[in-house]
Point group: C2
């Protein structure tokens, strides 16, 4: 039995898939501070116009430029693997397949959009990109992409992560990126925070503010900001994952999966794998599509669909999405990439439309699953990815109970070699679960009280 399915470079998908073209109701627009829809020109100081066009596009298929494919070939197509050894350990009749996104040089799915964004920026004449990073996955992916294209890269890394994860910073520097602890002295936003709170550990919200300020204040206008999740064009670039997976399943004569799973923080790795299958579902296929989030950060499973800011500092437009409120501070779980109050608008709307079946899983079950994975399949998974593994194991056990040979497909979004302290905590028995009491959630939801509400009827249509 073959456990790896490789797709030839010549068979790589040559177009990205845009779910916005197929959703039953059109996407709601982002809103500006005045409550009116944001128009593309308003975003021009932040993003290059070619990416803004992708952001608002309703075309179903968008060509991947040859030069972007050439960047992707360094690690794509990524392998589709069968988790045969895990199946055996579980004694399940289910077949578990997974896309291995850990093969990219930075070790996750993030470079799929990083190289595309860097390339479009370069085409637009941009010389330098800025961004923020929490745990460091995105910052290293963008540094990597900029190295390949000869762009400058400046990453504002949340100070506490900067101090705790020096290896992530060293990855960025090896690729020539500049990594600063945020808040920094290089921006007004940073300096103001430091004046008030010199000892602050920083936050993603502050880091976003600094990165955007650094982009829009470049006197030469040659700098733009780059975001690693949430936005439509990021989801778009990630769909190559699911498009490849479809071809690979076909290559081995496998049917459409019964279940498709991805962990969801901002939504991009989940969207990347699942959106091409959501298209099948819209066309009538019987597929269960599951975004998995941490129980302690239950955006899709407990929060409302609302208009909210993407950041704490309210610098971003209002996005139509499930949100715990922009003031929500997720507990310190190890899956840093899933600690986000909101969710990509495209993933949010697909949920509103009833196309997705979100689940939440507590981190102890995730680590238990990841350790079983490491001792059967062999690889060490990122803490974020462990959520998808845990959900796949739940489905495989259900298939065993039902005696059904289901096909399960999930996204192995990255390796955990830079995130071993979570395993240490788990193996030593020090890891704990975090609940989110209802009253705490209600408190953070209040931060959205005065914001416009998206129109919606009971069937989820507007």
């Amino acid at each position: 039995m073959t456990v790896k399915v490789f797709l030839d470079e010549k068979d790589i998908p040559r177009q990205w898939y845009n779910l916005a073209a197929d959703l039953p109701t059109p996407m709601l627009p982002p809103l500006g501070p005045d409550g009116n829809p944001v128009n593309p020109e308003m975003l021009a100081p932040v993003f290059p116009m070619n990416l803004i066009e992708q952001e608002v596009s309703t075309e179903r298929w968008i060509d991947i430029p040859e030069e972007v494919l050439d960047l992707l070939y360094r690690w794509r197509p990524s392998p589709l693997r069968r988790a045969k050894y895990l199946e055996e350990a579980l004694g399940t009749p289910a077949k578990i397949y997974y896309k291995d996104e850990g093969v990219s040089p930075p070790g996750s799915h993030k470079p799929n959009t990083a190289v595309a964004q860097a390339w479009y920026n370069k085409q637009f004449g941009i010389k330098k990109l800025t961004t923020e990073t929490g745990a460091g996955q995105w910052g290293s992916a963008l540094s990597f992409a900029c190295a390949l294209l000869g762009l400058e890269c400046k990453v504002y890394m949340v100070r506490i992560s900067f101090d705790q994860k020096p290896f992530r910073r060293l990855m960025m520097e090896t690729w020539g990126g500049q990594c600063l602890p945020s808040p920094s002295e290089t921006t007004n936003a940073g300096r103001e925070i430091l004046k008030l709170h010199p000892e602050t550990p920083g936050s993603l919200g502050i880091a976003i503010s600094e990165a955007i300020e650094a982009a829009v204040t470049d006197p030469k206008g040659e700098t733009r900001y780059s975001l690693g999740s949430v936005l439509n064009h990021v989801m778009l670039h990630q769909t190559i994952i699911g498009l490849e997976a479809k071809k690979q399943l076909k290559m081995i004569g496998e049917k459409l999966p019964d279940v498709v799973i991805g962990c969801a923080g901002g939504g991009s790795n989940f969207a990347g794998l699942s959106f091409p299958f959501v298209a099948d579902k819209i066309n009538g296929a019987n597929i269960r599509i599951v975004p998995v989030e941490p129980t302690s950060c239950p955006t899709l499973t407990r929060a409302p669909f609302a208009y909210d800011h993407g950041d704490v500092a309210k610098m971003t437009p209002l996005l139509p999405m499930y949100s715990l409120g922009h003031t929500f501070v997720p507990p310190p779980i190890h899956a840093g990439g899933l600690r986000y109050h909101g969710m990509a608008p495209l993933v949010s709307q697909a949920t509103v439309e009833g196309l997705l079946e979100p689940e939440s899983i507590p981190q102890l079950e995730c680590y238990e699953s990841a350790v079983l994975w490491s001792r059967t399949e062999g690889t060490i998974s990122a803490p974020e990815t462990s959520h998808a593994i845990a959900a796949a194991i739940r489905e495989a056990k259900k298939a065993k109970e039902e005696g059904k040979e289901k096909v399960i497909l999930f996204n192995w979004s990255g390796h955990g070699l830079m995130d071993l302290t979570g395993y240490q905590a788990y193996l030593s028995g020090r890891l704990e679960d975090f609940a989110l009491p209802e009253h705490e959630m209600q408190e953070s939801l209040k931060s959205m009280a005065d914001l416009p509400k998206p129109p919606m009827n009971k069937s989820g249509k507007w």
Copy 2:
């Protein structure tokens, strides 16, 4: 142009290649403390008999058991890649191919022999393996292998590395291995050292002594010791690398390489890639085959071919090999896996026979090469691997000067994600080269003065 060549699982090599069968002169035997050849029975308390048989075999081809193939399929066949982006940066007419051994779950070539050794031990009824590890590559590979087979694994890790590289230890523990700082209180050897030197940073020599003692003193006789390099059966298991590479070059219609390169510490990743090509060379092919070592630990390039102990504590038999003397302490270069005073007997004898053309490269040139690599090919290389990259770049530049379209093949033996501090030192300008003054080398060579000498004439024959 395709940059990745995948071999189907069904086309994986099904036999290992044993260079001992083809060397012009038979291998010299290891010698015991009395100066007489060691016989297999004397090794029985340390290794299982099925591996001892492989150690002394002169059969050219040895079958890989189906069950070992099934273990290897988790990551093998490994990709053959073309370093097209580096070629473009160098402007060379040479074609640079490399085997990507970084795809194994522990991230290097080491698991090729770890899973085979663990399987043969389990077949022999062994329940537990012990070993030593310096930087941690080997210890994590053996922990990984034992996890897959349900064996216990105990790793004695040199104390200074244990303290400095907690992530390596966490990898081992995630796979269920037990990792102890050496010297430890669990062995006589460890306790004696700790009594004399309570603050010792430890050494590979001490750790080997502890691991062997822990194996041979198991009252149930269910424990054996496992070594990750140097010995013949380890070289044997690694030849799958070169055998795959041959098939992959053939798949794309490529000729035999003009140059084959691997970094060499104990010799195993170099041997694994190169031995199948050494066979071609013995049969008349014109191939330049280059083991690359650090200038500061110049075993093949400056030391004599001699009989020497494999360890500082003189616990091992005398091996016929190039050696700087078992008392040699290599400078603290970052390529910990290349800090070894000796060299695999098979690699040593192939050198004596004139089949290899060893080179040494200083570490600054290696890091400069590895940083260029990371910004063109994209991946971050292990410090050991950077030596092979530096040698490949030297060859590619030579090909440019000569205007020749040479085919260069090297072994990308592993990634450097757990070894980023060396990059930090390089990028900040703090990294330095180490010379080995002749008088210092002569001093350490004295430790071999009273040992038997291998017979050898000027043409390298005995």
